[in-house]
């Protein structure tokens, strides 16, 4: 169970970073930390104690124990989506830097929520 709490802690670390950091790039990094904590969570729920890779071979032991392969497939999909999100975030951050000459969000405040 501890490992799940550690995973949740990582999620909170990312959230803390996103809320408190002032630098666009650091916000993106915090976002990635948060993202990967969720991926880690997916990998954890697919794990079965003493499980093997779910591949059917000729000489299987009797009553084989397999890990759940579905979360791994989902994590692969989610990583690709995460790549797209991070790439777009960084692209916008670079454009913002070109317009404002700074990464500090205190100085990028034309809009008020």
């Amino acid at each position: 169970m501890t490992v799940y709490y550690m995973c949740f802690l990582l999620f909170l670390v990312g959230l803390y970073g996103m809320v408190t950091r002032r630098n666009l790039i650091k916000i993106v990094i915090s976002f990635t930390i948060m993202e990967f904590s969720v991926f880690l969570f997916f990998a954890l729920i697919g794990y079965v104690e003493n499980g093997e890779a779910p591949i059917l071979t000729r000489n299987l032991p009797e009553n084989p124990v397999f890990v759940d392969p579905l979360p791994q497939a989902m994590v692969l999909t989610a990583i690709v989506i995460g790549l797209a999100t991070s790439a777009l975030l960084l692209a916008i951050a670079i454009r913002l830097y070109k317009k404002y000459g700074t990464f500090n969000i205190r100085e990028i405040n034309n809009l008020r929520g």
């Binding site: 997916f42 989610a78 916008i92 317009k99 809009l111 929520g113």
Partner: protein, 510 residues
């Protein structure tokens, strides 16, 4: 029939792929292709609704049949509710594309615009159709990533800043949703919504499931911009190009926010009193606070964006009231009335808010400003825009015979019948404040003394025709109040939500 279901996703997705590849070689390819495809989907949606759907139609992606009652394939499910939302998506999408034909000429990279729009529509149609939790997340990300890029399409300072803000908050929302999907999979070991629903019937009330539900409410609440989570919406919706603002406000917050909430909380989880109360309170807060934030705005599109929060509050509040009545075992007819009012207001809001954003775009197109104080006297030079925006303004503030009046009336009647007197009074008050705020818009934009020295001409034909079609819909949707029409369009959607377990049993029994 079931073979037509994947067309909703495939056709716009194919557009999004073909436009960047072929668009640069063939002149006019991108706009023709996307508008034709969306016209086809609109006709298909009307056909689906008017031919009547008795039972949900499910398409199994990859053709994997269910084995021993356990669904294996990813299901695309078309039932009354999804057909209703698909109609909204395709209709507003088609008219926004038609409008873009001349509007988007002032931006560079037209092809990218149409490709991203196609991608966004494919994602939204996917979210509406899918019956699989992880697939929901994937389609959701397709839709929102395209919308992030479209918000930043102008690549000026404000657009980029709005897009970054939108991406950060939207990204947090997506992660919360993904986290919740992980929790659900951990507990049930399946991703199919119908299957999950069957497994959750007996074990819904633990703290584990409550935590999952709260994660989902925060995630989809952020996507739908309900009040504690609304900070990104006014920036993003006012910075995007106007047809995209119409899509974002008119469709995206409904398809990926409110629709997903309704589908999951009615058809997947068993309803609980606490969750229904939370949803009603969030809706009421959005309705009241949204309108008070809107009234002080002088930026036209920002004013409209805040009104989106308020009007979506009506929808969520009405549906929440229906949920509370169903949980407490109140009269089912009143609950059905409340839900019908909510869904009716949803399609009405898509039509009139889409139209208002197109009007705002037309005004910006000819005058180059969004500031209400800099406008004035546009009545003479922009007759089409003035008339259509008058229709939309009357509609959003609930003046008969426009559609907004009837949906608000149903919501208020349901609130009174269900014993929610406070909510009924609030709904009336908010409607009055909305009227005041739109009178301000009309007066400053169209009827004050003109401040323009140069000559202003009416917008080009594609822009005016899409506005005229939308104002006709504003009037025509009032017909939904009559029993004959209501039973065709609205009742199937309401039944899906009222018969909560019917969805799961028909899908797993297939």
């Amino acid at each position: 029939m079931s073979n037509l279901v994947p067309l909703y996703v495939i056709l716009p997705l194919a557009c999004a792929f073909l436009i960047p590849v072929l668009g640069r070689f063939i002149k006019g390819f991108s706009k023709t292709l996307l508008s034709l495809v969306l016209l086809l989907l609109t006709i298909l949606s009307f056909h689906v609704i008017f031919s009547g759907l008795e039972q949900p139609v499910a398409y199994q992606v990859g053709g994997w049949e269910a084995s021993e009652g356990i669904p294996i394939a990813i299901y695309l499910v078309l039932d009354g509710l999804s057909a209703f939302v698909l109609l909204i998506v395709s209709l507003i999408g088609f008219l926004a594309t038609l409008y873009s034909l001349s509007y988007i000429k002032r931006y560079t990279a037209e092809n990218n615009f149409y490709a991203l729009l196609g991608l966004m529509i494919a994602g939204m149609n996917g979210v509406v159709l899918t019956g699989d939790m992880f697939n929901l997340y994937v389609f959701l990300e397709i839709a929102v990533i395209a919308s992030y890029a479209l918000v930043a399409f102008g690549i000026e300072k404000t657009e980029l800043e709005a897009s970054f803000k939108y991406q950060v908050l939207g990204g947090i929302a997506s992660l919360l949703i993904l986290f919740a999907i992980g929790m659900l999979y951990w507990r049930t070991r399946t991703l199919n919504m119908a299957d999950i629903s069957g497994l959750l019937v007996n074990s819904n009330h633990g703290p584990f499931m409550t935590f999952t539900q709260i994660l989902l409410i925060s995630g989809f609440g952020l996507k739908a911009a309900m009040i504690p989570f609304h900070a990104w919406l006014p920036d993003a919706h006012s910075s995007a190009p106007s047809p995209i603002s119409a899509m974002l406000s008119g469709v995206l917050i409904k398809a990926v926010g409110v629709y997903a909430l309704l589908r999951l909380f009615f058809n997947m989880f068993a309803l609980t009193y606490e969750i229904s109360l939370v949803i009603t309170v969030i809706g009421t807060l959005s309705m009241v606070i949204g309108v008070f934030l809107a009234i002080g705005q002088w930026d036209l599109k920002r004013l409209l964006a805040y009104h989106s929060i308020s009007q979506m509050g009506y929808v969520v509040m009405a549906v929440g009231m229906g949920m509370i009545l169903m949980v407490q075992g109140g009269e089912r007819s009143v609950a059905a009335l409340a839900i019908a009012g909510g869904l009716f207001h949803m399609i009405n809001h898509a039509v009139f808010k889409g139209l208002l954003f197109l009007n705002a775009g037309a005004i910006e197109y000819v005058t180059g400003t969004r500031n209400l104080k800099m406008m004035g006297g546009l009545f003479k030079s922009l007759p089409v825009t003035t008339t259509t925006s008058l229709g939309a303004s009357l509609s959003i503030s609930g003046i008969p015979p426009f559609n907004g009046f009837f949906s608000k009336l149903i919501i208020i009647v349901a609130a009174v019948k269900g014993g929610f007197y406070l909510l009924a009074i609030l709904a009336v008050l908010v409607s009055i404040v909305t009227l005041a705020s739109f009178m301000k818009f009309q007066r400053y934009a169209f009827f004050n003394k003109s401040t323009f020295s140069r000559k202003i001409r009416e917008v080009p034909f594609p822009m005016s025709i899409s506005m005229v079609v939308l104002v006709i819909f504003c009037l025509a949707l009032s017909l939904l109040i009559f029993p004959g029409v209501r039973e065709v369009m609205l009742t199937p959607a309401v039944d899906v939500l009222m018969e909560t377990t019917n969805y799961a049993t028909t899908i797993t029994g297939m």
